[in-house]
Amino acid sequence: MTEQPINDLERGLIAAGRAFSYPATPDIARAVTRRLGAHPARRPTRSPARRLAWALVVVIVLLAGLLAVPPVRAQILEFLQIGVIHIFLTQPTPTATIPPASTPESVVIASPAISKISPTPVRTATETTPSATPRPSPTPIASLLDLTGETTLAKALDSASFPILLPAYPPDLGLPEQVFLQDMQGQALVLVWLDPADPLRIRLSLHQYVGKDNLTGLKYSPPVVQETSVNGRPAVWTEGPYLLKLTNGDYELVRLIEGHVLIWAQDDITYRLESDLPLAEAVRIAESLQPLPTPTP
C-alpha cells in the first residue's frame, strides 16, 4: 500500500494481514479446469438438439418450482399437484434444521454450474460428489441467465399464450432485465430482475408456467416449508438451501436452491417467485401482479 497508516488500528490491521495464517491455497485452477472440461474452450454454440435438450432441462427446473410440500410431517409423499402440474415425489430425505453441515443431502451437490455449462443428461448426485467428507452445501445456485429462449418483454407479450403479469411492488422494481420464453408443451416464462448494485446477482425471478407435463422422480429436503396463501389461494413457501433432483425420464438434473421460493397458481397459470426476500415481502409482490398496460418496446 502506498498510503501511510494513520493510526494504531490501521497499523494493527496491516500487521494482521501480513501475519494472518491462511489455510494452504488448494489447487483451484486444476479443479476448475476439470469442471469446465479438459480444455475449456469458448462456449460453443448449441446445436438445435442440444438446445432442445437444454430447454427440456429448463422446463424441468421450472417444474421444480411448482412443488408444494406440506410441512415435513409425512415420511412418504406420494403425489402433489399445483396448478396444472402433476408431480410425483419420492420419500424426502431427512430434513435438517441446524447446522447445515449435518445435512448429508446438502452435500450431495451435482454442481449446478456444471449442469449449466454442459447440461449432460442423467447426471446423478453421486457421480458428481467424489468428496468423502460431508461438507455444507457450497455451490451457489445456477444462474438463470443462461436459459434458452431469451427474448424481449415486448416479444413475449406478443407471443405468450397467456397474459403476462408483472409485479407492481416494490415500486422501484421496474421492468425485468431479462426475459425468457420457452415453448415446450405449454409455455414457460421467466422474468429476471438483476440487482442494480450487482449485475451478477439476481434480485428476483418470476416464473410463469402453463403446461401439462408430468414430472417424476423428485427428491429434496428444504429446511423450511410453509403453507401460505396468495390472494386467498393456497401457496407454498420454501427456503433454501435444499436439493432438487428432477427427472422426466431422459434427463435428470440436480440443482441447489439457495433462495426463498413462493409458489402459487391462479387462472391455470402457476407462478414461482424466487428471491432472498422474507415471506411477507414475497407475498406482497405476488399479490401485486398485474398486466402490463401497454407493450414495451
Partner: protein, 187 residues
C-alpha cells in the same frame, strides 16, 4: 504475455491461458473467500465457482480492465450469497463461539502476532459484510485503493469514506468485545 493478452486468448478458448490466469489469482480469490466465510471448504468452493462464473462471463469482460478486482467482486458476491443462505446458522454459531471462548483464552500457546491477527479477524467478522469487504481488500489482501474501488464498483473516494466508517465501527467492536486487543496496542 501480459494479462490482457491472456484474457484475450482465454476468450478465444485457449485453456492454457485461462489456467495461467487462474493460477495467478487463485490465492487471492481463495483467501478473500476464506476471510469472508471463515471455512476452508466453503472458501474453496466459492473460489472455484468464482472462476467458473468468470469464465462464463469472459466474453462480456472488458480485457482493458484489471482482472483481479473483477474476479474478487464475483467471489465476494458468491460468498455473500452463501452467508445469506446460512446467515442464521452462522450468526448463531458465532454468538455461541463468542460466548464460550474469550480471546484471552486462545492466547496460550500462540505467538502474540498470530494471536492478534486471528483475534483482529474475529473482530472484523463482527462487522457487516460491506465493512468486512473493504477492510479485507485494503489490509488483508493489500489491494491499492484503485483496485479496491474497482472490486467494490465504487469511486476511490468512496473507498476511503467506507474504510473510515468501517474502522470506526471496528474500533467500537474492539472496545466492547476485544479489550485485550486494545490493551495490546496501548502497551
Amino acid at each position: 504475455m501480459n494479462e490482457t493478452e491472456l484474457i484475450d486468448r482465454a476468450r478465444q478458448g485457449d485453456g492454457a491461458a485461462w489456467e495461467i490466469l487462474m493460477r495467478a489469482h487463485q490465492e487471492a480469490a481463495y483467501r478473500l473467500a476464506y476471510l469472508l466465510l471463515g471455512d476452508a471448504a466453503q472458501a474453496e468452493d466459492v473460489a472455484q465457482e468464482a472462476f467458473v462464473r468468470a469464465y462464463q462471463a469472459l466474453q462480456r469482460f472488458d480485457p482493458a480492465r484489471p482482472f483481479r478486482p473483477w474476479l474478487l467482486s464475483i467471489a465476494a458476491n458468491l460468498a455473500r450469497n452463501q452467508l445469506r443462505a446460512f446467515g442464521r446458522y452462522l450468526a448463531a454459531i458465532r454468538r455461541l463461539v463468542q460466548a464460550e471462548s474469550s480471546p484471552v483464552e486462545s492466547v496460550e500457546g500462540r505467538a502474540a502476532q498470530s494471536w492478534e491477527a486471528q483475534t483482529l479477524w474475529q473482530a472484523v467478522r463482527q462487522l457487516d459484510f460491506a465493512d468486512q469487504q473493504v477492510i479485507y481488500y485494503r489490509y488483508f489482501l493489500d489491494l491499492p485503493v484503485e483496485e479496491t474501488a474497482q472490486a467494490l464498483n465504487v469511486a476511490e473516494g468512496t473507498v476511503k469514506s467506507r474504510l473510515h466508517r468501517a474502522m470506526n465501527r471496528l474500533r467500537t467492536v474492539i472496545e466492547q468485545h476485544y479489550p485485550s486487543l486494545q490493551e495490546g496496542r496501548e502497551a
